[in-house]
Symmetry: C2
Subunit: 194 residues, 2 copies
DNA sequence: TCCTCTGCCTAACAAATGTTAGGCAGAGGA
DNA sequence: TCCTCTGCCTAACATTTGTTAGGCAGAGGA
């Protein structure tokens, strides 16, 4: 019985998830085969079923973890910037989002790029976490707007779309460095505020 | 010998492309099977090979046509707005892009959503059209900036990313109407200008 | 009437896929 | 020593994939 809460176990379970995340991010759900995942993780395809009951369970876990990583990073950044100006909070959130996308790129890329192509059953099991993340960003923007740092006329739903679209689109950038990320966060923040 | 320039032929070739575009847009490259395409087009899988030499050829044609449809729409809109203010030109380009995404949604969605997941050989045969489209948008922005309607300090590369990201991200919107599109173009244009 | 070409179909192929059944080496407690 | 459990492997399975070979009905010219 694989038990994630067990203190020390072979980290094979994690290695399988890592391998799956990487392949899902690069090739998508259908093109990611258990044999490829197994090879990348260092075991044989059939052995995966000792750790997971199916390919779909692995996929769900990867997709949800990807969103949660970004979500946590943004939340932490906003909390750390509490009391600062709206502009500073927004900058912090943008940078945290971008940094998370770049760093845990496998999981986050997988969750962003695979979600819309995945079978409906998997979507059902991942859509909740995504909605929570959406709400989180929206409430950040709301706070900044009521504080006056975002103009009252700006449609927050549109702004939300602009931010999410822009940040997630950076994944199509192949190999952009930290400088470009900071630069983009700067440009975007400047556009939004003022 | 299927010849697209022939005046009248069964439109089966077009129906196959249409069906493929729809399925590619919804399910991605790997999950789009020739048997599904055939069924949607109203023939049997083997018969597709009378019109196309392979699945990949169909895919390349769909992806390229998708980009070209948006490209042409944006170009036409900019040409029609020639002489107008930078703001008007940008608005026209944004709206044209969004409208094209929504209207020819199959081809454009397919090209945007499949490109990064597709085998390398297909990417090689579609990347050129995409680059041309990128350049087109960038040169539009450059003209507006040199005309003074976009602040000199704004990084055009970032702005380009913001626009492309935002507009293409709308594809994840399921079933947004024209009102929302115009509203988004408005919000985005207001952020960029001024 | 004969012949050719068009446009599609049927039936099969090899390869690859998710998944399962059964086995096996080794660790470790009794 | 015996037993059990862990963690993996091998070998197969049914299905689905892109693709191909061969056939067949009908249109239309000679």
């Amino acid at each position: 019985m694989p038990d994630a809460s067990a203190p020390s176990q072979t980290d094979m379970r994690r290695r399988i998830l890592d391998a799956a995340a990487l392949l899902l991010a690069e090739n998508g759900y259908k093109a990611t085969t258990l044999r490829n995942v197994a090879e990348a993780a260092g075991l044989k395809a059939g052995s995966i079923y000792y750790h997971f009951p199916s390919k779909d369970h692995i996929t769900v876990e990867v997709l949800n973890e990807g969103v949660q990583q970004v979500s946590k990073a943004v939340l932490d950044a906003v909390d750390a910037a509490e009391g600062a100006s709206g502009k500073a909070v927004l900058r912090a959130a943008l940078e945290a989002h971008l940094k998370a996308l770049a760093e845990h790129s496998s999981y986050t890329r997988a969750s962003i790029r695979c979600f819309s192509m995945v079978p409906e059953e998997i979507r059902r099991q991942t859509v909740y976490v995504r909605r929570a993340f959406d709400s989180q960003w929206l409430s950040i923007l709301q706070k900044i707007q009521t504080s006056g740092d975002i103009h009252k006329d700006v449609n927050l739903k549109d702004l939300h779309l602009i931010i999410l679209g822009t940040l997630n689109w950076t994944l199509e950038w192949q190999g952009a460095g930290e400088e470009e990320r900071l630069q983009l966060a700067d440009t975007l923040a400047k556009l939004i505020m003022r």
